[in-house]
């Protein structure tokens, strides 16, 4: 019979957290920020595998870390939202409920499973002036252990989130037009990209939740349009 080792719960949690942080730290950051006409989500991503996705009419998702894990979270989010919208109404699908569900699920994996999720995700919802009680944007960040926080103005997840967060803090202005918000986001991502001075537009993944759109407010920017906006 093998002798069972005793490891204190504190130690187990600490080891898991360290493991998860390491995994997330290796990846690139992702930025979500409010601009004049909605919410901008961007990430440095030269590959064709998306880190940002549409969940529902007013809700978008961004993930960093291990692709297979956050993409799985994105898909269960889409299923959750579509079933809820089918059972009730499209306006009943809300970011807060989804963010809570993510928090539960990720916290559960962290405590029960041997390997924690090496991901952080954002759930962003653009406000609708017509919908009482939901006029304002909301941005939720859910970490690998299920801890959840809501953010105003902007939120950074991934490797250098603290550093980029303070960079954005010093430069962020309310109600920026899209072009300015994009410049700021790119400047922040450039700081994170190991001393490389510029991130070319084709290496950026940029999506918007546009307040003015009818129905599905999520839109992915094509490289051409991104070029124009960054130049203008």
């Amino acid at each position: 019979m093998s002798i069972p080792f005793y490891v204190s719960p504190e130690q187990v949690m600490q080891d898991k957290a360290e493991y998860a942080r390491k995994g997330i730290g290796r990846g690139k950051s992702s930025i979500t920020l409010e601009y004049r006409d909605g919410i901008l989500l961007m990430a440095e991503n030269p590959s064709s595998l998306s880190k940002i996705g549409e969940i529902y009419d007013r809700i978008a998702f961004a993930g960093v870390g291990k692709f297979s894990e956050f993409d799985q979270l994105r898909k269960v989010g889409v299923r959750y939202a579509d079933v809820k919208g089918y059972a009730y109404s499209r306006d009943d699908v809300r970011a807060r409920a989804l963010a809570n569900a993510y928090s539960q699920a990720m916290g559960d994996v962290f405590t029960r499973e041997l390997k924690p999720l090496e991901v952080e995700v954002i759930v962003a919802e653009v406000g609708d002036p017509e919908l009482a009680g939901h006029e304002h944007n909301t941005i939720y960040r859910i970490q690998f252990d299920g801890s959840i926080s809501d953010h105003e103005n902007f939120c950074v997840i991934g490797g250098l989130s603290d550093e980029l967060g303070s960079f954005l803090q010093s430069r962020y202005q309310a109600s920026m037009p899209l072009g300015e918000a994009l410049q700021l986001g790119r400047a922040a991502l450039e700081r994170a990209s190991n001393g490389r001075s510029s991130v070319p537009p084709q290496n950026l993944e940029v999506c918007l939740l546009e307040k003015a759109r009818i129905g599905r407010k999520f839109r992915r920017l094509a490289t051409d349009e991104l070029n124009q906006l960054l130049a203008g």
């Binding site: 996705g53 969940i55 799985q72 889409v78 299923r79 959750y80 079933v83 089918y86 559960d108």
Partner: protein, 275 residues
């Protein structure tokens, strides 16, 4: 990977299958319901004219607004033509309840697939998916709840408008130029056969669509005409490379004036004046 709180075991990209496997209580089994209630084939509201044909920029789909229950009017302003996504449309004919539900499910299905997979289905794929939904409805169709939609859209790859019709078994038939279905479909088709041509402008296409619907409403008691008193107009959607555009009331009204005015009988005016 499973996540607690989200439940479910389905991992594919179809919403209809997701409901069937993970949320069976939400899936409406019409046939089973009919059996359980022991009802004979029921007189669900039906009677309709919907049509689709190709024009210069793509494809146009139109439908009347009347729903009938036997000889009675069930509703004067139901919608029978829906956009299913940015480049495809469905027009429904048959039992109103299941038909509207099918249109709704189809729209969610296409959106769901696009979100899960990160890209939209090809137009052929969309038509095939609808064909499976129609086939799934076969048992209910045999009990009286028939749904036979028209499906049309702009094929971005082939750069052309395309039209499909379906039969109750889910059979899917692509139409070269035009089609119409519903109780007044035959009368609408007669007009389309005479007047339709593939290089018609959008305005001309609107006029042809309105004329065809008006002809059907004239001959078929199950099809509603244009109601200028209540201001109820047919639903008309056009789909081109740029996407779907819904014809506004004023456009339809002026198309109606152009198509009907030349046929007004001068004697009618005389009689009106004498009364």
């Amino acid at each position: 990977m499973r996540f607690s709180g989200f439940g479910g075991t389905y991992e594919g990209s179809s919403f209809a299958e997701l409901l069937e496997i993970d949320q069976p209580q939400m899936r409406i089994a019409w046939s089973q319901l009919l059996q359980q209630t022991g009802a004979a084939p029921i007189a669900a509201p039906h009677g309709t004219t919907v049509l689709a044909f190709k024009y210069a920029d793509g494809v146009i789909v139109a439908g009347d607004r009347l729903a009938t229950e036997g000889y009675r009017v069930a509703s004067r302003d139901v919608q029978k033509v829906y956009a299913t996504d940015g480049h495809s449309m469905i027009a429904i004919a048959g039992a109103a309840g299941p038909a509207i539900e099918m249109a709704r499910l189809m729209r969610i299905e296409l959106e769901h697939y696009e979100k899960i997979e990160g890209e939209a289905l090809e137009l052929d794929g969309k038509a095939n998916k609808l064909s499976q939904m129609v086939r799934a409805n076969l048992p209910a169709a045999m009990q009286g709840l028939v749904v036979v939609p028209l499906f049309a859209g702009y094929d971005l790859r082939r750069r052309q408008g395309r039209i499909w019709k379906f039969d109750v078994t889910g059979g899917r038939y692509e139409e070269a130029d035009f089609d119409a279905t519903g109780s007044g479909g035959l009368y609408a088709k007669e007009v389309l056969k005479q007047r339709h041509h593939s290089d018609a402008s959008r305005a001309e296409a609107l006029e042809i669509a309105v004329t065809a619907l008006q002809n059907a409403a004239d001959e078929d008691r199950g099809t509603g005409g244009i109601d200028t008193v209540r201001r109820i107009f047919p639903t008309v959607l056009t789909c081109s490379h740029a996407g779907i555009q819904s014809a506004v009331e004023s456009e339809i009204e002026s198309a109606y004036q152009r198509s009907v005015a030349p046929r007004a009988n001068p004697r009618m005016e005389h009689r009106g004046a004498g009364a």
